[in-house]
Amino acid sequence: MRRHLRLYPPAWRARYEAEVADLLDDVPASPRGVLDLVHGAIREWARAASRPAVARFQPVGGPPMLEHPLQRHPTTLAILALLLVGPTFVFIVASLLAYEIGVPGLAATIEPIVAAVTGPRWVDPFLLAAPFVAFLIAVSPLVSIGFARGDGELRVTIGFRARALNVVVLALCIALGGLLAGYLLVEFMFEAPLG
C-alpha cells in the first residue's frame, strides 16, 4: 500500500508520508485500505487546491506575498518559454552565421528552407513576438506581488526569486529581443527609402 502514498500532494508527503508508511507496516494490506488511501489522496489534492493563496515569500517587514498558481510550475513554464522562443533562436543564429559571419555555403542551404517556412503570413509576426511572449511566460513564476493597507496608505511589495533555468531563458529572450529590436531599428530608420 506504500506506493499509493505517492498519489498525495508533495507538501502532505513531506509532512506525513514517513508516519503513514510506518503505520502501514502495522496495518494488514486490504482493498479497503487501498481505497481509503486513494480517497484520502483525492481529498488532500482538493484541500491543497482550495487553500487560499498564502505567503510563500515573506519579505521582512513587508506585506505577505501572494502565491499565484503559476509559481508552482517554474520549470514547466521555463521549458514552454524555451520551446516558444526556439524557432526564433534558430532563425536568428542561422541568419547571423550565414549573412553576418559568412559561413560558406550556409546561405544557399538555408534560403530555400527560410522561404518555405516563412511562407504563411503568421510566421514573421510569430518569430518577432516569440521572445517577448516567452519572456513573460518565463518570468511569471518568479515574480510575486504583495499588497497591504496600513496607516492610510497602500503598500506594494514586489518579490523576485531566481530559478536557474528561468533566468537562462530570460537572458536568451532579452538577447533575442534586443537583436530583433536592433535589426528593426536599423531596417526602418536607416534603410527606409526617403521621401
Binding site: 500500500m1 502532505w12 509532512r15 506525513y16 514517513a18 508516519e19 503513514v20 508508511a21 510506518d22 503505520l23 502501514l24 502495522d26 496495518v27 479497503r32 485500505g33 481505497l35 481509503d36 488511501l37 486513494v38 480517497h39 484520502g40 489522496a41 481529498r43 488532500e44 484541500r47
Partner: protein, 100 residues
C-alpha cells in the same frame, strides 16, 4: 465515512487524544476499542492533518519513526463544546424515542 452520522473521524481522533497523547497506530486501536470502527490510514491522517492545521491538536517530537499527537487547549475546549452539544441531542433523542 460520513461526518454527519456521529462518527466524524476528526471527533473520534479528538476523543482518543483526550485520553492522552498517541501516535497514529495507537489512535486507530483506541478508536476501534471504543467504537468498533476501524479507521483507514487515509481517513486517519486526513483527520490529523485537518485538526493540526486548525490548531486543535499538535505534534510532539517524533519517537523513532512514530510521531505522537496531543490535544491542545483550543482542541480540548472545542471537544468539550462538541460533546456537550451531542449529549444534549442524544438526551432529547432518547427521551423522545421512549415516549414514542
Amino acid at each position: 465515512m460520513s461526518e454527519s452520522d456521529g462518527r466524524d473521524p476528526g471527533l473520534l481522533v479528538l476523543i482518543s487524544l483526550a485520553g492522552g497523547p498517541k501516535h497514529g497506530h495507537a489512535i486507530l486501536l483506541d478508536v476501534a476499542g471504543f467504537t468498533g470502527l476501524r479507521l483507514g490510514p487515509g481517513t486517519l491522517y486526513g483527520a490529523l492533518a485537518r485538526l493540526e492545521e486548525s490548531g486543535l491538536i499538535e505534534a510532539l517530537p517524533a519517537d523513532g519513526r512514530r510521531r505522537p499527537y496531543r490535544l491542545t487547549e483550543v482542541g480540548a475546549t472545542a471537544l468539550r463544546g462538541r460533546l456537550s452539544g451531542l449529549e444534549a441531542a442524544v438526551r432529547v433523542g432518547l427521551r423522545r424515542i421512549e415516549v414514542a
